[in-house]
Assembly symmetry: C2
Homo-oligomer: 435 residues x 2
């Protein structure tokens, strides 16, 4: 067998970039033995390359501050874009594509917003785009959906796909501490960004479920189609009560298909502790899929961190290198379809679900009756009710309900009415249940 050499340029030498270079250099021989292909990191582009220093850099021939240098280097056939963001990263990707180079990226924000433009351009220039690392870190969920489960109609997707949120919720649950305290500690430890908005408000999760849904349902689904609610307002009171019901609160990305309608949301969600997803703790991610032929499957692994993410990046680099080496670029279906399906996006509130409700009410006679009456009148059927006997201030008590399946639209009407009662002293808490 002829020994092929494929040259790669890594753009962005931060956490994932440097881990990717480490993977490709340290495990160069592993990949060569498995594939017969030598993958060489020929260039690293980074604005601060002058200040970087590690044992891998001396092995790399070209170190530059400008990506323009590598676009004109015809010996480089794969560009690994790991700078993140949606402005300069987009420019680099499009220019690389137009220069005839295949691109590997972990940039979920860019793909969730601009996938159509980028993928159409890639098809036009017959180059491949690898984006396995954009969702689920080291978990090969993109390829599973695109290739392995290709013969399935996907019925639903449940994902814990943001390590920061899962880390915070896991610690709130195990340590019994409030959100702000855990967030501060997570920031100090590097598990949450200084500006954590993207993570804790669910935006990053929305980007990722938009990408997974696009593949699963064969249609460009912009992330604006995703109903998003983050974990900022999660109260420790609810986490405590939920755990008494042998349940766990997770930030779940959900895509559910009913015939040719799909609802996609990111919301704090209650799941039963018997569900494997309840055991996915800390920075680990997991995606549970149901396909009409394969049934229920689950894929679990590290959702972030340089090493795990670099495994996915390197997997894409190798897949593209194999295609390049055999002269067979498969650029036709970057998102896993050749023509779009006829699915339409509907609101998650139109799909029935059980709900957990908590009302903080004045400790007066008849309150339970007033509230249950409003629920019943609006078609909300309760299967579990709990009036807690504790009252922090001696005047208000929590009333907790779990409902049978009901459309969110109907429930919202009842909640609005209850929230306006003078006996209800706080904004009602409504959390979807998937049990």
């Amino acid at each position: 067998m002829s020994l092929d050499v494929i040259n790669v340029a890594v753009v962005g030498y931060g956490v994932v970039g440097s881990a990717t270079v480490q993977t490709l250099i340290d495990n160069y021989e592993v990949v060569r033995r498995k594939t017969g292909i030598s993958i060489k990191v020929k260039a690293i582009v980074d604005l601060y390359i002058d200040k970087r220093d590690d044992k891998y850099l001396p092995h790399v021939e070209i170190k530059s501050k400008s990506y323009k240098d590598i676009l004109s280097d015809s010996s480089i056939s794969i560009i690994v874009e790991l700078i993140g963001g949606v402005t300069i990263a987009k420019e680099i990707m499009l220019e690389a594509i137009r220069a005839g180079k295949s691109v590997v990226t972990a940039n979920k924000a860019l793909l969730a917003i601009n996938s159509r433009e980028i993928f159409e351009e890639a098809k036009k220039h017959n180059v491949m785009i690898g984006y396995e690392a954009s969702v689920g870190g080291g978990i090969p969920i993109i390829r599973v959906l695109k290739d392995d489960l290709v013969s399935n109609n996907i019925n639903d997707i449940y994902g814990i796909i943001n390590g920061t949120c899962n880390y915070i919720l896991s610690r709130m649950s195990s340590e019994g501490k409030p959100f702000d305290e855990i967030l501060g500690d997570a920031q100090a430890k590097g598990y949450a960004e200084a500006n954590p908005t993207f993570d804790i408000d669910g935006i990053d999760t929305a980007h990722k479920i938009a990408i997974l849904s696009s593949i699963a349902f064969s249609k460009y689904i912009p992330y604006e189609s995703v109903d998003v609610e983050g974990i900022r307002d999660i109260s420790f009171t609810d986490i405590q009560i939920i755990s008494e019901f042998d349940c766990t609160l997770k930030l779940l990305a959900i895509a559910k298909r009913v015939d040719n309608k799909v609802a996609i949301s990111v919301r704090p969600t209650i799941i039963d502790n018997d569900n494997l997803l309840a055991s996915v703790n800390g920075v680990f991610n997991a995606v549970m899929l149901d396909g009409d032929r394969v049934g229920k499957t689950l894929f679990y692994g590290r959702g972030a961190g340089g090493d795990a993410t670099s495994s996915a990046v390197a997997g894409d680099v190798v897949a593209i290198a194999k295609a390049l080496s055999s002269g067979n670029i498969d650029a036709k279906t970057p998102l896993g379809f050749t023509e779009e399906s006829d699915i339409t996006i509907v609101s998650m509130d139109s799909i029935p679900s059980s709900f957990y409700l908590r009302f903080m009410v004045k400790d007066e006679i008849g309150v339970l009756s007033i509230i249950t009456n409003i629920l019943a009148k609006n078609g909300v059927s309760v299967y579990k009710a709990l009036q807690r006997d504790f009252s922090e201030d001696g005047k208000t008590v929590p009333l907790i309900f779990m409902t049978h399946e009901v459309e969110g639209n109907l429930l919202n009407k009842a909640i609005k009415e209850i929230g306006e009662l003078s006996i209800v002293v706080e904004k009602p808490v409504v959390i979807r249940m998937e049990i």
Copy 2:
């Protein structure tokens, strides 16, 4: 895009064969939309085809009792072998390969015994072999190891990969019933074969871990290299005691690498309930992998059954169809390597582990001291000891120990000595722990 048609023949129309035809016909349009390729089931070969009757058969042009018919049909490019067994199935696969046809199979026994011969022949004739369905039913574990984790050195593999054994152990544990009773019921329900030897004695599991290990460690590993112990002798007493320690007993396939040495075994194994594998119940399968870059990952799904297995078969058919359609047959690395690694196989007994020990002893003064003395003398250090106060016959009591990590070789010496004591009235129970 040109619409390609790829013709497929399915050989063997049993549970998996008929489910595969159903998948390819029912989801024909799903696959076409995703890939641009029309996959047509052109022929079904089955010895009893005259007696088969379902709504799919009328859609299939050729129905035959002899596979010879389809080998000479040049319009058929993929043969799906689903008859099982290692004699006629081998003949069909080799003849199909020599006729220039790619082959998809779920036949783990054949591959575990004859993979070198079959894969070398396939390379020679430049045809592809898909065998995703051979391990883990619908779980895409073969492709994960071959492609997605290609940049990793795999450190270890832990698999629950036999649905029958997992079903029996799950029910023994949840219902508190002995092995024979659950096995009989499992047979009545179709979850265990009339002759269950292959499953319950661990042979099927050994076939599967041999295949996974061959890919993971880049070397043809015959299944004879696997230390095998089944679940036939599992006593309900132990399942009960183990659960009191918040642990679960599973039939685990294990491959562990230490430098360039790999130990592979199939044994009843105790795992902590915190381990996700402990929550894999019934006929579900799961494979946990550790790669040096990706870290710990887990892949979970239905390990058996026609529908789930057909998802993996169809995934392979589509992957080969895409390769055929683009004129790019990747026949170089059927087992995921171009040259063999230098790993050597060692006994699992040479790799230290914790162990659970149970001795049934005469209820006499000094027994505990005699036994712990023998353990200590042989370098076996105990971290937990439990003398149960119940005695079924008033004369014997169980002594239970959990050991610190110790080589099985050393432990075996101690166990032999203890087993020969007159105060020990039953064969000692020794179960490996992975916690």
